[in-house]
């Protein structure tokens, strides 16, 4: 029950707040206000949730196929890079043409970066643990190099960031009062598309079959290698879109540390959301609210914003912990031994 785990994590968070001298109730009230107090705050929450949802989908889909995508961060960076290049490099185009190309570039960039470990796993049987993490750091430093060098904005005050992207490549605001941009809509649409893919299409069925019963899927004729590679690519593409949304929707220029760890948070979002697109949206909003709330609260009460990270990590730990089969077995055994100990009673089930 992920809900129980999340509540437990919040409870521990409350304890930590108390330890630094903040009354837990006050602390959470401040968090709530920070996340939902007023239209602009709510808008920031949604905007912060957007890349979490997209990258979360990028982890959730491979999870359905039995793969753990640890390279989200790298896919976010490459997607952002590709989107920026498309934004800056395609010249003068009307918004209706430019923007879709930028979005597409973001997807393709991330997809390529996701396809690499997918291919390495399917063909060379290289464990995705190492390959995805290495690629993440390579991506980060490549972008770092570019924004310190070739892509650096000469009139940008010396900071390591690119030229601002033109208006024709920016995600427009769709809810002006809340300052929510098109990216959030794209995130929702992607979730819907992911849901459709997973449950309504033949390929989605293959993904789930390979994840749920690889041997049975093989016996039934499904090509597990091909499914693996494609799934990793799609996951990468979604994460790439997270990077795209952040650049052309919020920051408007590619910079050095633009991602506060979206790729890593995505893993928490995906697992807490049970690898389910709907769950991912909900968890993305929840963790987005948590982050936003914590950052705003840090200004008003004396509590570092990193409390949100702590709660997030605890939630994931408690969720995986509660999935433990061993725990389940031990609890069952304890219940059984209370039920009168005779030889036959031990054999339930």
């Amino acid at each position: 029950m992920p809900l129980v785990a999340i509540v437990a994590a919040l409870a521990v968070g409350g304890v930590i707040m108390a330890l630094v001298g903040v009354a837990p109730l006050e602390g959470y009230k401040a968090l709530w206000r920070g996340a939902f107090g007023g239209p602009s705050r709510m808008g920031v929450t949604v905007t912060k949730a957007t890349p979490l949802i997209l990258a979360g989908l990028g982890v959730a889909l491979p999870l359905r196929c039995g793969l753990v995508n640890l390279g989200g961060e790298g896919q976010v960076y490459i997607g952002a890079l590709a989107a920026t290049l498309a934004a800056l490099g395609l010249g003068d185009l009307p918004l209706a043409v430019h923007l879709p190309l930028v979005v597409l570039a973001g997807f393709v960039g991330g997809a390529v970066w996701g396809a690499i470990p997918g291919w390495l796993k399917a063909r060379l049987h290289l464990n995705e643990l190492i390959t995805t993490i290495m690629l993440s750091y390579i991506a980060f430093w490549v972008v770092s190099y570019l924004v310190h060098g070739p892509m650096k904005d000469p009139g940008g005050g010396g900071y390591p960031w690119s030229v601002q992207v033109p208006d024709s490549a920016r995600l427009p605001l769709i809810l002006k009062k809340y300052r929510i941009n098109l990216g959030s809509l794209l995130a929702l649409a992607s979730a819907a598309a992911a849901h459709f893919l997973l449950w309504k299409t033949a390929f989605g069925f293959e993904m789930r079959a390979v994840g749920a019963g690889p041997l049975a899927a093989r016996l039934a004729g499904i090509n597990a290698e091909r499914t693996t590679m494609l799934t990793f690519a799609i996951g990468g593409g979604l994460a790439g879109m997270a990077g795209m949304a952040e650049i052309v929707g919020v920051q408007f220029r590619l910079s050095d540390f633009f991602s506060p760890g979206y790729g890593w948070d995505a893993i928490v979002v995906a697992m807490a959301g049970q690898s389910n697109p709907v769950g991912v949206v909900l968890m993305g909003l929840f963790f987005g609210a948590l982050r936003n709330g914590a950052e705003s609260a840090a200004r008003s009460i004396d509590m570092p914003s990193s409390i949100s990270l702590i709660i997030q990590a605890l939630a994931l730990l408690f969720i995986i912990g509660s999935n433990s089969v061993v725990l389940y077995r031990r609890l069952r055994r304890r219940r059984v031994s209370h039920a009168g100990d005779s030889a036959s009673a031990v054999l339930l089930d």
Binding site: A212, L219, G221, L347
Partner: protein
């Protein structure tokens, strides 16, 4: 001769299965006592109890006439019981010495004293004729050598009673001879051996006494010199309890499944297929039987498209499928029922309806432009559910929610609903209750009556005798013989399963007991 071990009225039950039923069994010093029985007879459970890996529900154990409780392997080792498992407990990356010494403390603790251990190893080797190379890596050793290491490992720890579980299953005849020489010298030195086997020849050759187990009970304990192969075979196999299923006379047509000189290599040499030729005709059930581990699994994997034939040919209705992948077999409409329900038969987390359509979801009826057509899929699932009497709350529940019998029905439905011309079924009733078993039998017989060619691979002799028209026995990757079911008897089958070729059986073999053929419903 002193009594070493006595197990008195030991009983052990697992959920739904009475593994050991009031078993009494004893071993004397200087004796090799064989424990004979088919798979599932209860031998392994009994030995696990002896070795502290399982606790009996009731019964007592006595060691040298003193009652003992054996709760852990450590305690068993402490008493002087050494076990050589069927699947070796050796660490491939370590040397022989390291494996032998693991977990022991010496005078030079905490430092390892490999040199000293190697010396002691050599002494033991000399004493019992067990040639081991102390510094070799276990992974480089042959299975025979590895087995010797396991034996030395037990002796190094002071084992006085050695338990060997199907030791010759992994040995060549030459290595088996070597093993028997070792067992002889162990016996001469006053050690005792429990020799678990299903191979009658060896049991007769090496043991002093034989205890035969069947379905968890002791059938008899006899002196080896007082018994014969035929008697042992009959005791081991027994009179089948007949399931009442109707079977019409067989009217076979053309050959549908043709296996010609199939050779399949496996990583584990004992699972290889070494030249099998079989032919199954339309409208007949050919059963391939034998003790598990004689090549059936590799053959089945090759027939399912999961493994390639190293040599030989398999064809269905004339089409060569030797190189086929599972996808091709689906397109060719070959019904496949795998032996492992939970890993190969079903994707347990997926719903029943998804499992049922696992082979057909790409067909035009169920899928348009990559999008699944939920209506037709659900309709198919519902139809199959009622046709095959699958008891479930609905087609959307995960397959893991279903009982074993209903899960098997799902697999059957998926394999057979497209009216395939050929069906390959591996152990289709394993772990099923009587009702479910009966259902499976009726389905297979109905298919056969419709003209389907059914290849049934099963280790259950009763099932084989009940369902099939012809029986082929596999041993060590080869076919020992083929008989018509109505002419078969257990003795003959038992001997073929234990390694005698059909042509070598005595001509005047009188069946010790005939069995009643499956008769019609009362």
């Amino acid at each position: 001769m002193n009594s070493l071990l006595r197990m008195d009225r030991v009983t052990k039950t697992f959920p739904g299965v009475l593994a050991n039923d009031c078993i009494s069994f004893d071993v004397m010093e200087g004796e090799i006592h064989a424990l004979l029985g088919e798979n599932g007879a209860g031998k392994t459970t009994l030995m696990r109890i002896l070795y502290g890996m399982s606790t009996p529900d009731s019964g007592t154990l006595c060691w040298r006439d003193k009652p003992v409780q054996i709760a852990t392997s450590q305690e068993a080792i402490g008493l002087g019981i050494g076990m050589v498992h069927q699947h070796f407990m050796l660490i491939p990356e370590f040397t022989v010495v390291e494996n032998v010494v693991l977990g022991l403390r010496t005078a030079r603790s905490p430092l390892l004293d490999l040199q000293g251990a190697a010396k002691r190893l050599s002494e033991l080797s000399e004493q019992f004729g067990l040639r081991v190379e102390p510094w070799a890596l276990v992974k480089d050793l042959s299975t025979g050598e590895q087995q010797r290491v396991e034996i030395v490992k037990a002796l190094y720890r002071g084992a006085h009673l050695l338990v060997l579980d199907e030791p010759t299953a992994v040995l060549t005849p030459g290595e088996a001879d070597d093993l028997f020489a070792v067992l002889d010298s162990l016996r001469a030195e006053g050690h005792a051996v429990i020799f678990i086997s299903h191979k009658l020849d060896e049991v007769l050759r090496i043991s002093n006494r034989v205890t035969v187990l069947r379905r968890g009970c002791v059938v008899a304990t006899v002196n080896t010199c007082d018994t014969s192969k035929e008697e042992l075979a009959t005791m081991m196999v027994g009179r089948p309890v007949v399931l009442r299923v109707e079977r019409r006379p067989c009217e076979p047509g053309e050959a549908v499944i043709q296996i010609e000189n199939a050779v399949v290599e496996a990583e584990d040499h004992r699972h290889e297929v070494r030249g099998v030729s079989l032919s199954v005709r339309a409208g007949e059930i050919l059963a391939l039987t034998g003790v598990a581990g004689n090549g059936q699994r590799s053959l089945v994997e090759a027939l399912f498209g999961l493994r390639r034939l190293t040599a030989g040919r398999v064809s269905i209705l004339g089409r060569d499928i030797s190189e086929c992948k599972p996808k091709d077999l689906v397109l060719l409409n070959v019904g496949r029922i795998p032996e492992d329900r939970h890993t190969m038969g079903l994707a347990l987390p997926l719903s029943v309806r998804e499992n049922l359509t696992l082979e057909v979801y790409r067909q035009r009826a169920y899928c348009r432009a990559g999008v699944l057509r939920q209506g037709p899929i659900t309709a198919l699932a519902r139809r199959l559910g009622s046709e095959y009497d699958i008891r479930m709350p609905g087609v959307q529940v995960p397959a893991s929610n279903l009982s074993g019998g209903n899960q098997q029905k799902v697999i059957l439905a998926r394999a057979m609903h497209r009216e395939p011309p050929a069906v390959v079924a591996a152990d289709p009733t394993r772990g099923l209750d009587v009702g479910a078993t009966e259902f499976v039998y009726r389905q297979l017989l109905a298919a056969r009556d419709r003209g389907v060619a059914v290849l049934l691979i099963s280790t259950d002799l009763e099932e084989v005798l009940c369902l099939s028209d012809r029986i082929a026995v596999i041993y060590n990757g080869e076919i020992m013989g083929e008989v018509l079911t109505e002419e078969a008897n257990e003795t003959q089958l038992g001997m073929m399963m234990a390694g005698t070729r059909g042509v070598d059986l005595p001509v005047d073999l009188k069946p010790r007991a005939t069995f009643a053929p499956c008769s019609s419903q009362p």
